[in-house]
């Protein structure tokens, strides 16, 4: 069975989701639950740290597709960081780099949020 963990950290007004393991149709609901929990508390500055994300399928990408517009409409964003080349390749196949902010690390994401306040 696919192994996947979401670790949620709140730091300086940002919600950081650290993803670990394999994100597929079996595990995507864990990510969705974590995102909903943040949005339900009216928070919308979200950083997804993909350092330990080993694998992503379209079911995982679909979670980002479903929520990004709502988050942006509220003045926030979902920024993705620390992708391994294997995971980045999948985002790239769908043209995500032109549609999402994909950054080297969490500090870059915080800088981006700060500069657009």
């Amino acid at each position: 069975m696919s192994s996947f963990i979401v670790n949620h950290i709140q730091k300086d007004g940002y919600d950081i989701l650290e993803l670990k393991g394999e994100l597929d149709a079996h595990t995507a609901s864990h990510l969705e639950d974590a995102l909903k929990l943040i949005l339900d508390t009216d928070r919308n500055r979200i950083i997804v740290n993909c350092t330990s994300l080993e694998y992503i399928a379209s079911a995982g990408l679909g979670v980002f597709m479903a929520y990004i517009e709502d988050v942006r409409a509220l003045g926030g964003d979902i920024k993705l960081t620390n992708m391994t080349p294997r995971v980045y390749n999948v985002f790239d196949l769908l043209g995500f780099p032109t549609l999402y902010d994909i950054l080297d690390d969490v500090s870059n994401a915080i800088e981006q949020f700060s500069s657009h306040q």
Binding site: M1, S2, S3, E22, D24, A25, H26, Y55, A57, S58, A59, L61, G62, V63, M65, A66, Y67, I68, E69, D70, R86, N89, V90, L93, L94, G95, F96, L99
Partner: protein, 139 residues
């Protein structure tokens, strides 16, 4: 339920088995000496095809079965995935506009698009109650 032979495996149509079938095709690909990047592409294509069968052919009925078989032939590596659910009509496929789907808050609908990008050839066949999708990668 899992039946595993040398180059074939039959599993229940459950997302619980996604990791298992990814590991199975990766092992077959490694045994045939495929490159790491090619193996990544094959694993993802098989994942997407298996997920589509669970969703669309079987409507999430995990009592149903899916069989996978792999092979090498004429400088290609192929994976045949068979189900006995609702057939997929490839004639209905249109390439998704990802930016539009995101604007509309729609998830998914990109599995077949990914499979086509990842593989060199994709064949669909229905015979009797069986449907087969054959994913072919040139080596």
């Amino acid at each position: 339920m899992v039946t595993n032979n040398e180059n074939s495996i039959t599993v229940s149509a459950s997302t619980e088995n996604l990791a298992l079938i990814r590991a199975f095709v990766a092992e077959q690909a490694i045994n045939n000496g495929l490159a790491a990047k090619t193996i990544d592409e094959i694993r993802l294509a098989v994942d997407e095809a298996f997920t589509n069968i669970i969703k669309h052919a079987y409507n999430f009925d995990s009592n149903k079965k899916v069989s996978l078989k792999t092979g090498m032939e004429n400088a290609t590596f192929w994976i045949s995935i068979c189900d006995e659910g609702k057939p997929y009509d490839p004639g209905t496929y249109t390439e998704p506009n990802i930016a539009d789907r995101i604007k509309e808050g729609k998830r998914g609908g990109v599995g077949v698009f990914l499979i086509k990008k990842l593989m060199d050839k994709v064949e669909y066949r229905s015979f009797g109650h069986k449907n087969e999708i054959k994913l072919i990668k040139n080596l």
